[in-house]
Every structure is written in C-alpha cells, then in structure tokens.
C-alpha cells in the first residue's frame, strides 16, 4: 500500500466506500428527521469517482448556487468533510427548522446561516459517527464553516485537496425527501494515510 492513489481505487474499495456512504447518509437522515420532527426518506446514495471537469456539471452547472458546509476532521484520521445542498434546498431545511419563519428569496440571513450550520453539524456529525463506529477509529469534527456561492467555487476546495492525491474526486450523492426532493452531497476527504487507516480498520488491506 505504498502508492495508493485515488486514481487506482478498485471496485472493492468503491464498494466499501459506498457502504460507508450508505450507512453514514442513513444515520444522517435519521438525525435530520429527529431534528426537523418529520419523516425523511432517502434513496440509496451513489458513490462516484469523477474527473474534476465533471463535478460542477453534475450539480446543475458550475454556476449553480449552493450552500457548502465544510469541517475539518481530526483524531485517528485527519482530513475534511463537506456537505453541499442547493440554496433552495438549504432554505427549505432552514424554514422547517425555524417553523416556517424563514425569510423570502434564496439568500440566507445571519440567523438562517447559523441554523444551516446547525443542521449541517447534525448531518455530518451523524455521518462521521457511523464511520467511527464502523472502523473503531476516533473521529472529531471541527466547528463548521459555511459558504453560499457558485458550485464550482465551493467545490474547488475539496477538489484541491483531492488534487494533491490524484486527478479525481470522490463524491457521495444522497437524495432525500420530506415533502420536497432535496439533493445533498457528501464529500469525505481523508488524507492518504487516513484512507489506509480506514480501509485497514475495515479489514480491506
């Protein structure tokens, strides 16, 4: 495992990552459903290994307005995790949390940004928790930071982190519904050493 680059991830690893994504996203949805006190359904998440060029276009174009929440991860593994939703979806979630009291339009005001950070904290926390339970590794997230901007610009941050390791980016897309459809994306970016740790903790190496 001296030269494990993301470009030669095998089908086996993809399956493991898909399974982690599945369980993680499932836990995240349960947490979200408890927080918003409504039923949230989800589809089986899709795990994709994409070229940099493809990433923006799959989220509705590089200029699609998105809310991205980014956290650093520390502990037994290091890296970062990002949760992305379209601004209209973010607005919908915030509105739910605020009992229908959110402002009009696509922009988020200060209170709504803070609400969205809280939602993302719950979602990514649940996600990382399940990863931690599966692998028996200690994983601590930092406080979240949020950006509302073009998809391309937000994605440049994880893309650059992946760029150090290879020419592709690993993305977990999970669609979930309450009364409207929400497209959410998780991007988990462990450092190369951490990849090995995760895989060996799962008995894959």
């Amino acid at each position: 495992m001296a030269d494990m680059s993301l470009d030669n991830v095998t089908q086996n690893y993809m399956d493991v990552l898909r399974e982690i994504g599945n369980i993680g996203a499932g836990n995240a949805m349960t947490a979200l459903s408890q927080m918003l006190q409504c039923k949230v359904d989800m589809q089986v998440p899709q795990v994709r290994l994409l070229e940099f060029q493809e990433v923006g276009s799959m989220m509705g174009g590089e200029e699609q307005l998105m809310v991205g929440v980014y956290l650093a991860v520390e502990g037994d593994i290091t890296g970062s995790i990002m949760f992305l939703v379209r601004t209209d979806s973010a607005k919908h979630l915030v509105n739910k949390l605020m009992m229908g009291m959110a402002s009009e339009g696509e922009e988020l005001n200060e209170m709504e940004i803070s609400a969205m950070k809280e939602i993302s904290n719950i979602i990514t926390g649940a996600y990382l928790n399940s990863l931690s339970m599966l692998t028996n590794l200690k994983i601590y997230p930092s406080p979240p930071d949020l950006a509302l901007d073009m998809a391309g610009a937000i994605l440049s941050v994880p893309a650059i982190e992946f760029g150090i390791m290879g020419d592709k980016i690993l993305l977990i897309q999970s669609q979930f519904y309450d009364d409207v459809e929400i497209d959410g994306y998780f991007i988990l970016i462990p450092d190369l050493e951490s990849y090995e740790k995760i895989l060996s903790a799962l008995g894959m190496v």
């Binding site: 030269d3 680059s5 470009d7 940099f52 060029q53 990433v55 923006g56 174009g61 590089e62 200029e63 307005l65 991205g68 980014y70 956290l71 650093a72 290091t78 970062s80 922009e107 930092s142 406080p143 930071d145 950006a147 509302l148 901007d149 073009m150 998809a151 391309g152 610009a153 937000i154 994605l155 440049s156 941050v157 893309a159 650059i160 982190e161 760029g163 150090i164 390791m165 290879g166 020419d167 450092d191």
Partner: protein, 163 residues
Amino acid sequence: MSEIIKVGMADLKVCSSPNGLTTLGLGSCVGIAIRDPITKIGGLAHIMLPDSTAIRGGQLNVPKFADTGITELVRQMEAMGARRNRMVAKLAGGAMMFAFQNNKTDLVRVGDRNVEASRKKLAELQIPVLVADTGANYGRTVIFYPETGDYVIRAVGKPEKVI
C-alpha cells in the same frame, strides 16, 4: 460568428480573436489570462495548485499546476503564432472560500499561494501582470476576450466588472 470556449477545472485553452475564453466558478483556483495584443491570440488556464514539484507520485497533470500550466499555455500560444515578448497577463481567483484553515501544510492559504506561484512563473517568463482581481472569500466566473484584452469578472451578488 465568434464563440466562447469553455475551460474546465485543471484545464487550459488558447484561441484567437474574435473568439473568447471562459471558466466558471473559480474558487481557490486561479484563472490566468495571457494575451498577445498584436496577433490577438489569447489563452486561459484554470490551475488548482501552486507547485507540480511538491506532489508525490502519480502522473503529471500539466494544467493542474501554476508552474507547468503557465509554461504549457505560453507554449501553445507561441505555436499559434503569438510572441512571448509581447505577452501580457491578467489574474483572477485565488479566493479563500472558507475561513477555517486546514492545518495541512500543503493546503494553508492555497488560494494566495496559487496567485503567488502564478506571478512567480509569469515573472520568470518575463510576462508582465497588468492587473489582478484575487483573494477575498467569493467565487468568480471569468470571460476573457483576446480582441480587447478585457477580462470580465462575475461574482454572486456583486456587479460585473471588467479588468
């Protein structure tokens, strides 16, 4: 009819007037626009990382890095008939999208370092940087017209500007 050619992430393209070049949603990446005002040949590179020599292993993706990307962009422009000693450059991007600092040394202030590395490479090639719109914390879409040298910058919730 003129067309606007799209440049992706970790990508570079050259064209001549009246065509233009665009790259969408630059974040911490930098868009380097170079132009030869006589032949009106222009090039645009969308680089992600400052330094190709700092990367461990793997195949070299030339347009991904400031150093190799700019060299290749200039080479392609010269192949089209542009002259290095007439070339001028403009820069955009290099934002810090999130205030939180990743403490991995190769990622700290990556936007700033992308800009610095681009300036350094351009100085090495003796291509002057006329103007730059870099840094801050927001994404930029850019359109570059080799005809006039106009570099149009769009950002969410901000008026369009031309540098």
